[in-house]
């Protein structure tokens, strides 16, 4: 399956996941993170050699593992929404817990990665590449932390009031966190 095939899907009933308020946030966050990415690219353009040289010191394995962890958590959370719609609240809750645990694993791995880099002497003010590395991953980590709060709200929603919209809110936020990480992964770890 490719991304292109998605747009030509047969006509389906239109449904706005979560609510407009959340999408104001998601689209605005896209713009804000987009600005960070463009500013990063402009700096990279100015110091291309330094960025490629510094990039070698990042652990690609950790980056890949963290991407896989977040993708798995997104899958769990997306399944949770589908299960909620089907009325299987018990299983949906398990999926949400699984997604949240993946988020925690992501944070632990990130903390390990940071401490390893700091031990190697690559700190925040070391050079511009590492400045962006800590800044982008740090802001993203803050979004992960808030995402865990959102998943927690979804979990309690599934226990008590069971409104699909509230579960969708947590899920949409969490996918945004996943998506931003995919871009950060490409820009910081992989591109040359």
């Amino acid at each position: 399956m490719t991304a292109r095939s998605a747009t030509s899907a047969p006509s389906v009933p239109r449904h706005l996941p979560a609510n407009k308020d959340l999408w104001v946030f998601v689209l605005g966050d896209f713009v804000i993170f987009g600005s960070y990415f463009v500013i990063f690219m402009v700096s990279r353009h100015q110091e291309r050699g330094l960025f490629i040289e510094s990039q070698r010191h990042l652990s690609l394995n950790i980056g890949v593992v963290n991407t896989l962890v977040l993708l798995a958590s997104s899958w769990l959370v997306a399944r949770a929404v589908q299960l909620t719609r089907a009325g299987e609240f018990e299983r949906a809750r398990t999926m949400i817990v699984g997604g949240g645990l993946c988020g925690l694993v992501f944070m632990v791995i990130k903390a390990y990665e940071w401490s390893a880099k700091i031990a190697q002497g690559h700190t925040f003010p070391s050079n511009n590449f590492f400045m962006y590395y800590y800044m982008l991953t740090g802001v993203h980590l803050f979004h992960v932390a808030i995402g865990l709060v959102f998943l927690g709200v979804s979990y309690f929603e599934l226990r008590h009031r069971r409104r699909v919209g509230s579960v969708e809110t947590g899920a949409t936020y969490w996918h945004m966190v996943d998506l931003l990480w995919v871009v950060i992964f490409a820009l910081l770890y992989v591109m040359r």
Binding site: F25, D29, I32, S35, S43, M131, M135, F142
Partner: protein, 246 residues
């Protein structure tokens, strides 16, 4: 309630919600003067560069001494109106279906925030502008003092935005829309990204940086504009007879 016969108040004082309307009007006025003070007069926004020499810093104060002093003289008066804006927002927060804890925390956080965020920077610049013949080392310190304190007073505004966002999220009376709460999360992120100003003297995360200053300021201006607009709607929608629990 009827007005006492001994003293008849003018008709405008009997307008419903008159006190909130007066408080509301101080906010756009205050922020326009705020812009005049910080952008036009005192040159704190956009901030001067952190990576200039001692001589250039002294020259900056010599060149702008008069406007810095005029600007901050205005600030010394108008800063008081910040508490009117906070009082109005706190009142609207008290209309929400949540405990007034957040409303009082909002006032508390901003009472604190006004000092490191506004007045302390002002005094550092004024002290430098009043006597540009001070030891140049001291001039450089006052320069850093003002701009770091101005851009880098983080926690007060994180707390302010956190309690505001929580109050809006938990509110079931729909006093302010939920998307404003989400915007307050951006404000917290903005403060987080202002924290590197204490580390970097140039680049996007310095106090005049594209991320730490410009992006943050754009978010702040958008937030403030929405807040002013939404407060207007909130007051307008409020029933004059609504009882707010004390």
């Amino acid at each position: 309630m009827t007005v006492a016969p001994v003293w008849t108040a003018p008709a405008w004082t009997r307008k419903p919600k008159i006190d909130q309307w007066i408080a509301w009007w101080t906010i756009p006025v205050f922020y326009n003067i705020f812009g005049l003070i910080f952008v036009v007069l005192t040159r704190v926004m956009p901030p001067p560069r952190p990576d200039i020499t001692q001589t250039q810093i002294v020259q900056f104060f010599v060149d702008h001494s008069l406007t810095i002093r005029i600007g901050f003289a205005l600030l010394m008066f108008f800063i008081g109106f910040a508490s009117v804006a906070n009082g109005l927002i706190a009142l609207q927060m008290k209309r929400m279906s949540v405990s007034p804890v957040f409303a009082y925390a909002y006032i508390g956080a901003l009472v604190v925030g006004g000092l490191p965020g506004c007045l302390i920077p002002a005094f550092a610049f004024v002290a430098a502008a009043l006597r540009p013949d001070r030891d140049p080392q001291i001039m450089v310190m006052l320069y850093d003092w003002c701009l770091l304190s101005f851009v880098g007073s983080l926690g007060c505004f994180c707390t302010q935005n956190m309690v505001l966002a929580l109050a809006i999220f938990l509110d079931r009376n729909d006093v302010l829309p939920k998307w404003l709460a989400y915007m307050s999360i951006w404000m917290i992120v903005t403060e987080l990204l202002a924290s590197p100003v204490f580390v970097f003297r140039s680049g996007p995360l310095a106090w005049n940086g594209s991320i730490s200053f410009y992006l943050g300021t754009v978010v702040f201006v958008v937030w403030e504009f929405c807040m002013i607009r939404l407060l207007y709607t909130a007051i307008e929608k409020q029933s004059p007879n609504e009882q707010i629990q004390d």
